[in-house]
């Protein structure tokens, strides 16, 4: 069910999951995304918080620690599977693009 729901991830979803391949807290996730995308993808704290709750509910991420102020999370095996599937899908998109656009530029 969860995998079906997250078949096509949005950019913020993809980068949040990518950031959580390591244990991280909310603000760290925001910083990593900013760093990865050089400011192209922006995730506000409210949006991040809602997505983290949703991922946790669907068992894509797990709460690792909570000191009352900060919570840290990490990907679960299910989450990793969803992320890898999305990676393959994106890779396929790029390959298809390359095949067509590459051929065009050859001509």
């Amino acid at each position: 069910m969860a995998k079906e729901q997250f078949k096509n991830l949005t950019e913020p979803m993809y980068y949040i999951l990518l950031a959580l391949t390591e244990e991280r807290h909310g603000y760290e996730i925001m910083q990593i995304i900013d760093e990865f995308t050089k400011g192209r993808v922006q995730v506000g704290p409210g949006t991040l918080y809602n997505l983290l709750s949703r991922f946790q509910k669907e068992n894509l991420i797990r709460l690792m620690s909570d000191d009352g102020r900060r919570k840290t999370y990490k990907l679960t095996p299910d989450g990793r599977e969803v992320l890898e599937e999305e990676f393959k899908r994106l890779q396929k998109l790029v390959m298809d693009g390359e095949e067509v656009l590459g051929r065009c530029s050859d001509e």
């Binding site: 913020p12 925001m30 922006q42 995730v43 506000g44 409210g46 949006t47």
Partner: protein, 435 residues
């Protein structure tokens, strides 16, 4: 009055999300910075006019404190300053030049969260008016309800409460549909009107204050109009002029004293009601009540006199006499069923003859359910408009009653005395003529 502090009535709900954000920004531009949100009021402090960006966040009421704190912490780490909260609403702000990432960057997700919060708010708000309507009859008003201000006001309160709630729910549903359509078309989530939200808040506040005052007026037996004026002045002083600050110890002492007083009052009331404390009340001047002595019954009697009143029926009293030899544990039963030499007079004096007639008809209609025999006694008593003697089909307690309408007055007598007996009717007639 502190000129550096400004207070506003605050009774806003989930859909007011955007209108509040704009309002706080406008206040900051005018030199008023939100300080805190307390029960029913938002407080502002005077500042140099500033361009600030506010963000009002909805948070589930059921969320644990830790979750809330970690959300506030995340927003603060992102540069937003947490300023105040009210129920499920959290308010953040930042300087405009900081140009921070907005708290919500995904309109679709934001719309879903808002719609869910608003929907939960609708469920939370609809249940009480529905239960109130289920439990109370709005119209026609029962004659019994006319004797208290709460009883009279209840249908008006229910109609107003339903109107406010239904218009709010309708507004919410329209907003949810509009928001979904906007997000679908990649447009911004629609805003709501602050003026409308404020109007709704003020209406709900007036309703709340009037309902409270009506209940207080009934409890302490004061006239509602004078109480409304006095309490309104007091409320104005409390909300706008005086900053009442108690020390924690003083506040604790006030709370404890109030709790003990309420508990003591409840215990005394229950003891009086169950007969554990025997009452020997007398009929107050200006009210009508018949005694066993009037009917030449000389056994020792215990008298119980209660009175109430409302704007429409200023005088209502119930006087009952019970034989003192009756065991305490059966006293309540004796009062209710009128067994033995018990007599009870319910007296009411209304503002007009029409209201008195309404009460009289209601009483007759109620008694006709048990009726065995009903006889008009209009010709047997002097100067009355209408009157009936009723004996009941339940012969076990031999209960009988007499209901009289005389101008603005209604006198209802019940007990084991045979009111159809011409000698007893004469006693009633003589006593009524004396009043």
């Amino acid at each position: 009055m502190n000129k550096d502090i400004k207070k506003e009535l605050f009774l806003f709900t989930a859909t007011d999300y955007f209108s509040l954000k704009d309002h706080f920004e406008e206040m900051a531009r005018e030199g008023w910075m939100l300080k805190n949100i307390k029960f029913l009021t938002a407080q502002y402090r005077k500042i140099e006019p500033k361009e600030l960006v506010f963000s009002v966040e909805l948070y589930p009421r059921t969320a644990e404190e830790d979750d809330k704190n970690s959300f506030i912490n995340l927003c603060e780490e992102s540069g937003w300053k947490y300023i105040a909260s009210s129920k499920n609403m959290l308010v953040f702000y930042s300087n405009k030049e900081d140009n921070l990432i907005p708290i919500h960057t995904d309109e679709k997700l934001h719309e879903k969260v808002l719609s869910k919060a608003i929907f939960m708010d609708i469920l939370n708000r609809i249940i009480w008016p529905l239960l109130a309507v289920r439990w109370s009859r709005i119209l026609p008003i029962s004659y019994v309800n006319l004797s208290t201000n709460t009883g009279i006001m209840m249908p008006i309160f229910l109609i107003l409460l339903l109107t406010i709630t239904l218009s709010y729910i309708f507004g919410c549903l329209i907003w949810i549909i509009k928001a979904k359509l906007s997000v679908k078309k990649n447009k911004k989530i629609p805003k709501t009107s602050y003026a409308l939200a404020r109007l709704r808040a003020i209406s709900a506040f007036i309703l709340l204050v009037t309902a409270t005052l009506t209940i207080i007026a009934d409890l302490i037996g004061l006239k509602i109009l004078s109480l409304i004026i006095l309490s309104s002045i007091l409320l104005l002083i409390i909300f706008h002029k005086v900053d009442i600050r108690f020390k924690k110890e003083t506040l604790d002492l006030i709370k404890k004293t109030a709790l003990f007083s309420i508990a003591a009052l409840v215990i005394i009331y229950m003891m009086l009601e169950t007969g554990s404390i025997q009452r020997n009340d007398k009929i107050k001047a200006g009210y009508i009540g018949f005694t066993c002595r009037d009917f030449n019954i000389t056994e020792p009697q215990i008298g119980k006199f209660d009175r109430k009143g409302s704007l429409l029926v200023p005088k209502v009293s119930i006087y009952s006499e019970i034989n003192q030899n009756i065991p305490k544990e059966f006293m309540k039963l004796y009062i209710e069923y009128g067994v033995g030499y018990t007599i009870e007079t319910t007296y009411s004096k209304s503002m007009s003859n029409k209201i008195a007639k309404y009460i009289f008809d209601g009483m007759v209609k109620d008694d006709l359910i048990h009726e065995k025999e009903i006889i008009s006694i209009k010709d047997k008593l002097d100067d009355i408009d209408e009157g009936y003697f009723i004996s009941y089909s339940n012969e076990v307690d031999g209960r009988k009653s007499i209901i009289i309408l005389r101008g603005k007055e209604v006198i209802y007598l019940k007990g084991s005395i045979d009111f159809s007996d011409i000698r007893n009717l004469e006693i009633i007639n003589n006593k009524l003529n004396d009043y």
